[in-house]
């Protein structure tokens, strides 16, 4: 059971990072990025290609993922000049789907549907199975904490205030001299780069990535994390990712109680329960578990 918890926490750490990245984009800036999984996948494949095809060390892979994710984010964010709200959601969803098709069809680069094997792992040599699992968890938590500290600082800084003002009404910051497009691009780039970093971690953890690893389902889980936790609140994003992972994994353990149903029905029921729980959380905590609070800067001395 320990090992299982370690594994689940490791996955949860990836979702925590993704949810925080989405919080920069959606929670603060109001940019509906439904293409989370596109950037995540780009990061995973970039890191895989850099470490396996090009034989570079894992840190270079992660750095490359950050860079490529950021560039992809910047390009996609240029659409946000003209598109807002739900429109951007659909177009970014399209970006993710397009990326998935690229992963699936550009076999020369990604090895297509058969999957990309990654041997490089974020562990030091010579650790046993259990110790490396703990080690990896440690690495992931470290990255998550680092990301939290930096992103939370940004969110709390005047930078975050400008982002939130863009979310509320972009004409106001614009007439006050803020370059709204530049902020949107920065927020999008930053979030996407972090998503790609999460993808890189994930790739080196699971070691086989296929296009099917990057379906909309994952974007949905990340969105659920953010909404359940509380959009706009970095701590909420963290809590949300943990809660959603707990719900997703916890429902597995219902199966033994439902022996009278067919496995198909048990599986269907599990998803019905997950969906219902999420709706219930949103219904009773519409602003999320940890709602965004308007910060009152300390009274000037």
């Amino acid at each position: 059971m320990d090992a299982y918890l370690v594994a689940i926490l490791t996955t949860a750490a990836v979702y925590v990072i993704l949810a925080m990245a989405l919080n920069i984009q959606f929670g603060l800036t109001g940019l509906m990025n439904f293409g989370v999984v596109g950037f995540y996948g780009v990061g995973a494949y970039t890191s895989g290609i850099v470490t396996e095809t090009l034989g570079q060390p894992i840190l270079i892979g992660m750095a490359a993922a950050l860079a490529v994710g950021g560039i992809a984010g910047a390009l996609v964010s240029l659409l946000s000049v003209r598109l807002s709200g739900d429109f951007l959601a659909i177009v970014t969803l399209g970006f993710a789907e397009t990326m998935r098709l690229v992963f699936n069809n550009e076999d020369w680069l990604t090895r297509g549907p058969r999957g990309f094997l990654i041997m490089t792992r974020p562990v030091i040599d010579g650790l046993g199975r259990e110790a490396s699992a703990w080690f990896i968890l440690g690495v992931f938590v470290l990255v998550a904490v680092l990301a939290f500290v930096l992103l939370n600082r940004l969110a709390g800084a005047p930078f975050g205030r400008v982002l939130r003002s863009i979310r509320e009404d972009d004409l106001v910051p614009a007439t006050l001299g803020k370059n709204v497009l530049a902020y949107r691009v920065q927020a999008f780039m930053l979030g996407s780069a972090v998503m790609a970093l999460a993808g890189s971690l994930y790739a080196h953890y699971v070691q086989t990535i296929t296009p099917d690893n990057f379906t909309t389902q994952i974007a949905v889980l990340v969105w659920m994390s953010l909404i359940v936790g509380g959009a706009g609140n970095m701590k909420g994003a963290v809590l949300g990712a943990l809660v959603v992972t707990a719900i997703y994994e916890g429902t597995r353990f219902l199966a033994p109680l439902l022996d009278f149903l067919t496995p198909t029905q048990i599986s269907a029921l599990r998803f019905i329960i997950i969906g219902t729980l999420l709706i219930a959380v949103v219904r009773f905590r519409p602003e999320g578990l940890l709602p965004e609070r308007t910060r009152r800067p300390r009274q000037a001395a």
Partner: protein, 386 residues
């Protein structure tokens, strides 16, 4: 329960595609697993221990499958994971299984499946892609189609089949029409794809799909006025397909590893899961699942252990023979107790493995649908060790 010893149960993970692209095939697999385990337990279990089956849904998605495998391996501590179907899923969980020394018995066809195994811990009940391509090209040419177009979904099953099929056709003096045509699976409509094929106007088209994409592709081909020959894979034209298209199914040629129609072990399987044999192709994946479970449990019984390396060795012995033919767990157990060598003959095939856990060779057959019934017309052998 029937007097099983109080010792700890043997835990087996059953991971089948209950949702997602494999949804149509998952239930028959998990039913087969359940049925075998129920039967074995009622006959005293394995090594006198109860077998407990823990089912998880792979969602036909490696991300979900990895999480489910984590639970099976680390929380439930299963000794083996059976039943994965999509190759991406089998491959996706392979690093975990290798690391934790968990046996994998599955049915998949990607040519890359053997690559992820370094410990001899995998067994695959389905012939690989290459074997299918060689066999189907042979059957098509034997049937007089030297010019065949290829169409298939871009997934781990059909992804490279176009090329393999083209090569095989060439070897036999035929060729494929145009380029192999891949489409994106999981779409709502395949009208545009069908239109494209119709405009190529080939004398025959080999559509290497699953039932969920083959049904709509076939419908659009017919409704688009295509009158040439359609060749496909048998598991795409099971009862669900025939229900869905009715009389229009007649005339389709389809090929598959010789399903053991009429074979005793196959009928035993069908009856075990409560199906009356009809002499037709039924549950092409369920019978593999039946063999997956029998092999795994017999291997444990023979190895007198759940240690995966020992079990894997035992499976190789049991499956490949030589020895007395057995078709069920009960028969095998009796032989083990008598100390006699055996050769397991399965419901899906004779089940002989190469060193890498892939099937050694299989007979393939070509069928034609006539009045809604499959009629066998040709057979060939495809040696997958080539």
């Amino acid at each position: 329960r029937t007097g099983l010893a109080q010792s700890a149960p043997i835990l087996i993970g059953s991971m089948t595609p209950l949702t997602g692209g494999g949804g149509p095939y998952g239930p028959e697999k998990s039913d087969a697993h359940r049925a075998v385990v129920a039967a074995v337990n009622s006959q005293g279990g394995v090594m006198g221990r109860e077998v407990r089956l823990i089912s998880e849904d792979s969602e036909t998605n490696p991300e979900a499958a990895v999480r489910a495998a984590r639970k099976l391996i680390d929380a439930d501590k299963v000794s083996a994971i059976l039943g994965t179907w999509a190759s991406s899923v089998s491959l996706g969980i392979m690093p975990l299984c290798q690391e934790a020394n968990v046996l994998q018995v599955f049915s998949g066809s990607s040519d890359y499946l053997p690559d992820g195994d370094t410990k001899g811990l995998i067994f695959n009940l389905q012939p690989l892609n290459k074997a299918w391509a060689v066999a189907l090209a042979d059957l098509a040419v034997q049937r007089g189609f030297t010019e065949v177009a290829f169409a298939g979904p871009k997934n781990d099953f059909a992804a490279s089949m176009g090329e393999s099929f083209a090569t095989s056709m060439q070897k036999l003096g035929g060729s494929i029409v145009g380029e192999p045509f891949y489409y994106n699976p999981g779409q709502a409509s395949y009208r545009a794809e069908a239109e494209h094929l119709i405009r190529m106007n080939p004398p025959a088209i080999f559509v290497a799909g699953y039932v969920t994409d083959f049904v709509p592709v076939y419908r659009e081909l017919i409704r688009g006025g295509y009158t040439g020959q359609i060749i496909t894979l048998s598991f795409a034209v099971g009862p669900a397909f025939k229900d869905a298209v009715g009389g229009a199914a007649d005339g389709i040629l389809h090929g598959s590893p010789v399903p053991p129609i009429g074979k005793d072990s196959y009928e035993t399987y069908l009856r075990l899961v409560g199906i009356e044999p009809t002499g037709q192709v039924q549950n092409s994946f369920g019978c593999m699942a039946y063999d997956e479970m029998n092999l795994c449990l017999l291997g444990m019984e023979a190895a007198k252990s759940t240690d995966s390396l020992a079990v894997a060795d035992a499976i190789r012995r049991i499956a490949n023979g030589p020895g007395e033919r057995v078709t069920t767990f009960a028969e095998g157990k009796a032989l083990i107790e008598a100390g006699t060598e055996m050769n397991y003959d399965g419901a899906s095939s004779s089940v002989d493995f190469q060193e890498n856990g892939m099937l050694r060779s299989r007979d393939f057959a070509l069928y034609e649908i006539k009045d809604g019934e499959d009629e066998i017309i040709l057979t060939t052998t495809s040696d997958a060790t080539l």
